[in-house]
């Protein structure tokens, strides 16, 4: 489904180097690739893909293989804080839509990038979008992904930052030929801010978290026995027996309305 957009829309997707959850190998980050996919559907020709980091990284070719003409790289050392460089580059000529993933797959993966960019550039940020429905007359209508498969429609003024959720359309396959033909344009950036706070951190492979034990704080043996054997029953709610079927249905209906599940 192609959203309605105006011709001169400028869309930027910020991409990072991902990490495969089980093999740990570098790959295109899932949410970033979805952001590129969304951008390609909005503006198939003019999408600008930016990476702040090392231009010789082969993962960038995986993004380029999605049908990009070029990937722009702001050269940064691995221990750098990429935010100042991004702010300088994006602030120089503000795009209409900046797209990122919700959380990176490597590094701190705090998810702060879109929010910090939003504060520094002074434009709104929309969290976890699944789809951009339309962009017209300076406004975009987007669908935000909510937990439990729900969607919320939002209207936001251009320019804005959007973080793309895993509920967005899956990214297209990366083609080797297209990836080789695409340009990786490295740009030397004057700003290099080393993230000094991070140097003191200690990073280890994730330890398996202990399972929470069900601690029974029973005073007597009889209590412990009961806790070990009793079925998990609720506090025994209201029981309706002799009312008419209509009254019973009304009671259920009231509960549904009170819980707010009837839409």
């Amino acid at each position: 489904m192609q959203p309605k957009v105006s011709a001169d829309l400028r869309v930027v997707a910020l991409v990072s180097v991902g990490k495969h959850p089980s093999s740990g190998r570098a790959r295109r980050a899932d949410q970033d690739a979805r952001a590129v996919e969304m951008g390609l559907r909005l503006t198939p020709q003019a999408l600008e893909v930016i990476h702040a980091g090392d231009s010789s990284n082969s993962v960038l070719r995986d993004y380029a293989g999605m049908g990009l003409q070029a990937v722009k790289v702001l050269e940064q050392p691995p221990q750098a804080d990429v935010l100042p460089a991004l702010v300088e580059y994006l602030g120089a000529s503000l795009p209409d839509i900046i797209m990122t993933g919700v959380r990176a797959e490597s590094g701190e993966s705090s998810g702060m990038t879109p929010y910090l960019l939003s504060e520094k550039l002074g434009i709104p940020v929309v969290t976890g979008i699944a789809e951009i429905r339309s962009v017209s007359q300076g406004y975009a209508e987007v669908l935000q992904a909510l937990p439990r498969g729900q969607r919320r429609a939002l209207r936001v003024q251009l320019p804005f930052i959007a973080s793309v959720d895993s509920a967005a359309m899956p990214a297209r396959q990366s083609a080797y030929g297209a990836a080789m033909r695409a340009q990786v344009e490295a740009e030397q950036v004057s700003i290099e801010v080393v993230d000094s706070v991070r140097a003191s951190w200690e990073e280890t492979p994730a330890r398996k978290r202990p399972k929470r034990l069900k601690v029974v704080k029973a005073k007597t043996a009889a209590d412990r026995f009961k806790a070990a054997t009793a079925k998990a029953t609720g506090d025994g709610g209201a029981v309706m027996r002799d009312e008419s079927a209509a009254e019973k249905a009304k009671a259920i209906f009231d509960l549904l309305v009170e819980e707010g599940v009837l839409r």
Partner: protein, 416 residues
């Protein structure tokens, strides 16, 4: 020792043996179970043990008075225990917790975060700080009444209409004011897709703080966070902003707290850049069963299947079923709830004609509100349910369809 030498009294022994003696009653203590006999030996009177029950039969309590707790009577077993009240007068510092309040109620994740706040207070007390209070900050419609048991010493509620729905900017503006007036020692958020993640990061970006996300082991000095998409552990110094994973700490369960409402804080009006156009209708059957919010589940008590499907459609509920109906081919296998099917997490679960096998009850253990429609009042599902209707499932569903259709047309307005 000499005091304990028991001297025999032959005359008393003789009287005790002779039940016809006028002094016999005085010599033998009636009712006492254990008596020191005239010969110096302990005598147990088996007839004095126990008591006469209400039906005239002698009952012997072998639990030494613990029979109440052991479930001797079901009603007294359910009686709530009054936990000790934890009071904080004129707190010197605050720890702010912003719970998700999904559907207006505290989630298990929220309770873990409140528990973590109290752990931090305990750790701070050990270093000499005194009088810390946990303040829970809520937005919009709040239906929770268990803040005292969850561990909120203070409660700050922003309930204006501005905060209803999706209003991150208004919330951040309000939280900025909280920061100015209370200056909490820590800000704790649940790191969840239900909203804690977004609010926490927005506020941290606004206040130019560096948050610790996915924190799962928090100490006063160092904290362990998950990094790199959950594949690494980062051990780093603890900061003011903490976004905590589920099960970061045990929830409060041994104390009650005051949950005193704080004075409302003035907040500036902001012009929101994001306009909430409301939730979009999603086909409920396209949502995965494990994460569906509202489930209509069928069991062996359903005979009119067309009616059931129509009810699910009208209610906007996701369809599910017990093992029996799936085995019989009425529903596909991926709609099965229970031990060998899907473990569901619905907020509202309507079980029509399901009596509640253990395997099925395991599958719905995480559901908040269960409504049972069943003809058998004694079944296990009725014991589990918050509302039970003893009637034929098909009939109740037909009535429910009519009610909801009227509601959609705007006729029933006084509901709830």
């Amino acid at each position: 020792m000499s005091d304990e030498i028991i001297r025999r009294d032959p005359r008393a022994e003789w009287i005790a043996r002779n039940r016809l003696h006028p002094l016999h009653a005085a010599m033998v203590e009636q009712g006492a179970v254990e008596v020191r006999g005239p010969s110096g030996l302990i005598r147990r009177n088996p007839h004095a043990v126990g008591f006469i029950g209400p039906n005239g039969i002698k009952r012997i309590d072998r639990l030494n008075g613990n029979s109440q707790a052991a479930g001797g009577s079901r009603r007294s077993a359910a009686k709530a225990v009054e936990l000790p009240l934890h009071k904080v007068e004129s707190p010197e510092y605050y720890i702010a917790v912003v719970p998700d309040l999904v559907g207006g109620r505290l989630t298990a994740h929220d309770k873990d975060v409140l528990g973590q706040a109290h752990q931090l207070i305990a750790a701070l007390n050990a270093t000499g700080a005194v009088n810390g209070a946990v303040v829970a900050i809520t937005f919009g419609d709040c239906r929770e009444d268990g803040f005292d048991k969850a561990g909120a010493d203070r409660l700050l509620q922003f309930s204006e209409a501005v905060f209803d729905g999706y209003a991150p900017e208004a919330r951040i503006a309000a939280l900025e004011q909280v920061e100015k007036s209370l200056a909490p020692r820590f800000w704790l958020f649940p790191d969840s897709v239900a909203g804690g993640f977004e609010v926490g990061l927005r506020l941290a970006a606004r206040l130019d703080e560096r948050p610790l996300t996915q924190a799962w082991q928090v100490g006063l000095q160092t904290t362990i966070c998950r990094g790199a998409g959950g594949t690494s552990d980062i051990s780093r110094p603890t900061e003011r902003f903490l976004l905590l994973t589920p099960e970061c700490a045990n929830p409060v369960d041994e104390t009650r707290h005051e949950a005193l409402a704080l004075d409302p804080i003035d907040r500036p009006d902001v012009a929101p850049a994001l306009e909430d156009l409301g939730q979009v209708a999603v086909d409920p059957n396209s949502v995965a069963l494990g994460e569906a919010e509202f489930i209509l589940s069928a069991g062996n008590g359903i005979h009119n299947w067309e009616n059931f499907h129509r009810a699910a459609e009208v209610l906007g509920a996701t369809e599910a079923g017990s093992r029996v109906v799936v085995d019989d081919g009425y529903l596909p296998r991926f709609r099965q709830v229970g031990a060998s099917g899907t473990w569901v997490t619905a907020r509202v679960y309507i079980a029509v004609g399901i009596s509640g096998a253990v395997q099925h009850l395991q599958g719905i253990a995480q559901c908040d509100k269960v409504v049972a429609v069943n003809t058998d009042v004694g079944c296990d599902m009725v014991k589990r349910a918050a509302l039970s209707v003893i009637d034929d499932g098909d009939e109740v569903l037909s009535e429910l369809i009519e009610l909801v259709q009227k509601y959609r047309q705007g006729e029933v307005t006084d509901a709830a």
